[in-house]
């Protein structure tokens, strides 16, 4: 393989890895908005929270896999608490109170993180089993980033399975299109919503753990990725899993090849992409709801 081609291949996988990470965050966000119509500004804060839990679990047990299992669950627990005691009570008032309250939650989480973990940045080492490289032809590429891609695909499959093959998934899909009807059928919609919110934050939590070996854990990390996830959800269409998946990939690649070819304008690309898509299709690529 020619070295230039090797570089492009590497950039392609870079973009994929970042895009897939973004997808993990965005899938939770799009699920929550699609089902419940909540603009959850605090979503990325749960992502950060999980990254901090991951750091703590690693310090306590040293096992990355245990952290991957536990940290997102703990983050999801906090998410469920917020849904049950705050968001549910104001759901009837519309978008703006929800926006305001999730901004409030994100600020409180930020401060909570600083109180418990301090302000110093933490770097987390790549788990032992995933260190090292694989050879793609003669390109030497780190295993961990390939693992990210695989893991995200695994989660995508899992979600598709739950949404389309289980009773819960059926109820959830029905609740999206007509919550009142589902309620009338005797299904406990608030419970379903709580569950969905929990799953959404759990997904963000997964991303939070997966990202720690490649990104510093510090109090600003929520802002770092929150905006990107929001763009993905908006451009992909609210509530659309497949939309989030495709746009995540696009933005990942746009980022990689943007840096490769027009590094000065790379950050502008994402928002231009979003504005252009929305200008032609205001509901996003795969969205139906406004």
């Amino acid at each position: 393989m020619d070295s230039t081609i090797a570089m492009y291949v590497a950039q392609f996988i870079n973009g994929m890895a970042y895009g897939m990470l973004l997808f993990l965050v965005a899938s939770g966000l799009t699920l929550i908005f699609g089902m419940m119509g909540i603009l959850n500004i605090a979503h990325a804060s749960f992502f950060m929270l999980s990254a901090y839990f991951c750091h703590t679990f690693l310090e306590l047990t040293g096992s990355f896999w245990l952290a991957l299992l536990l940290a997102p669950v703990v983050a999801a627990f906090f998410g469920i608490l917020c849904e049950r005691f705050l968001l549910r009570k104001i759901h009837a008032f519309g978008h703006i109170p929800e926006l305001l309250i999730t901004v409030g939650i994100s600020l409180v989480i930020l401060e909570g993180v600083k109180l418990f973990w301090g302000t110093e940045p933490f770097l987390v080492a790549t788990p032992k089993t995933l260190q090292g490289f694989i050879w793609i032809s003669d390109l030497k590429y780190p295993i961990y980033r390939v693992f990210i891609v695989g893991f995200a695909f695994f989660i995508l499959g899992l979600m598709a399975l739950v949404l389309y093959k289980t009773r819960l998934g059926m109820v959830v899909r029905a609740a999206v299109s007509d919550a009142d009807m589902v309620n009338a059928l005797g299904i406990n919609v608030p419970l379903v919503f709580m569950l969905v919110f929990g799953i959404g934050t759990w997904l963000a939590g997964l991303a939070g753990v997966i990202i720690t070996p490649i990104l510093t854990v510090f109090p600003g990390m929520a802002d770092q990725i929150g905006m990107d996830a929001f763009v993905v959800v908006v451009t992909g269409g609210f509530g659309s899993l497949i939309g989030a998946f495709i746009v995540s990939l696009c933005i990942g690649e746009l980022n990689s090849f943007g840096i490769q070819f027009i590094p000065k304008l790379a950050p502008v690309l994402m928002f231009t992409f979003m504005a252009v898509v929305l200008a032609f299709k205001p509901t996003g690529f795969f969205g139906e709801r406004e």
Partner: protein, 332 residues
Amino acid sequence: MRSKLYLWILWAAILVILILFPHVVGIYYTNVVVLFSIFSLYAITLNLLLGYTGLLSFGHALFFGGGAYATAIALTHIPGLPLIPAVLIGGLTAVVLALITSPLLVRVSGTAFAMLTLAFGQLMYVICLKFRNITGGEDGVGGFPIPPFTIPGVVSIDMTNPTNYYYFALIVVGLSILVIWFFTKTPFGQIIIGVRDNAQRVSYMGFKVPHTKALVFIISGGFAGIAGACYALLQNLVSTDGVLVIYMSFLPIMMAFIGGIGSFFGPICGAAILTILDELITMYTERVELVTGLVFILVVMFVPAGFTGLLASIKEKLFIKSSDQGIMEQAS
């Protein structure tokens, strides 16, 4: 008749307080009040969209920041630019920005409108960051000359003096708010409320909804631009983190909501509450985020109608009580 007299006295008292204020409290709090007045105007322009037309904008900083940058850049590059044209350049730039974006925006409403405005706002933000040679990147545009307020041959007032600028900003903001106020009272202003409540009906009545929306959008954007221009003159510094960042789009929404979006003057109360809160928090604690976050949560949970809504409900309760008493008295 008597209540009208009271009202006049109240207004006169407010005016006297406003005039004397900078001479009593010193430069620091004078600037705080100027900032508050600028944000009041900014929040009112947002509420024109949100409360009156029912359009939630997540990118209002586009106009505020656009106006601020235009004024700052104009003052940097055009030597001897007088004060009033500098402010108008800010407003006009915002109008132009609104004109450019409105064809795309008027077709949509609800969440799609919010998202599209967000996209434009963020686009402006990154563009201003990246085109460093014009906007100065993160450094922003600062240290530009602040022109004096001149009427040729009559008077020239130095605007770098905080007290003078206080009067100037208050007059500009006051006039702008008055214009918007009268606008909402015109028949057209009533139509925009119709757009919010029932767009179809407005359309049947023979008004074009997209055109109506576009006009409101342009007026709202233009005055937000003027607020931005005043901000640039006050700070003598415009930066992306100060005027274009997404927080600056959320800020007027919060102000409008906390003050009460159902009322024209609600956003002013919201701006006042947030300004006072900010001063108090910085005085007593470093946990700014914690307090602000908790306040937001508590407001949404317990005062969802905002400050003016709260006042109204208190008034109502008092009124009902007293009228109940009246009935009792009559009965006895």
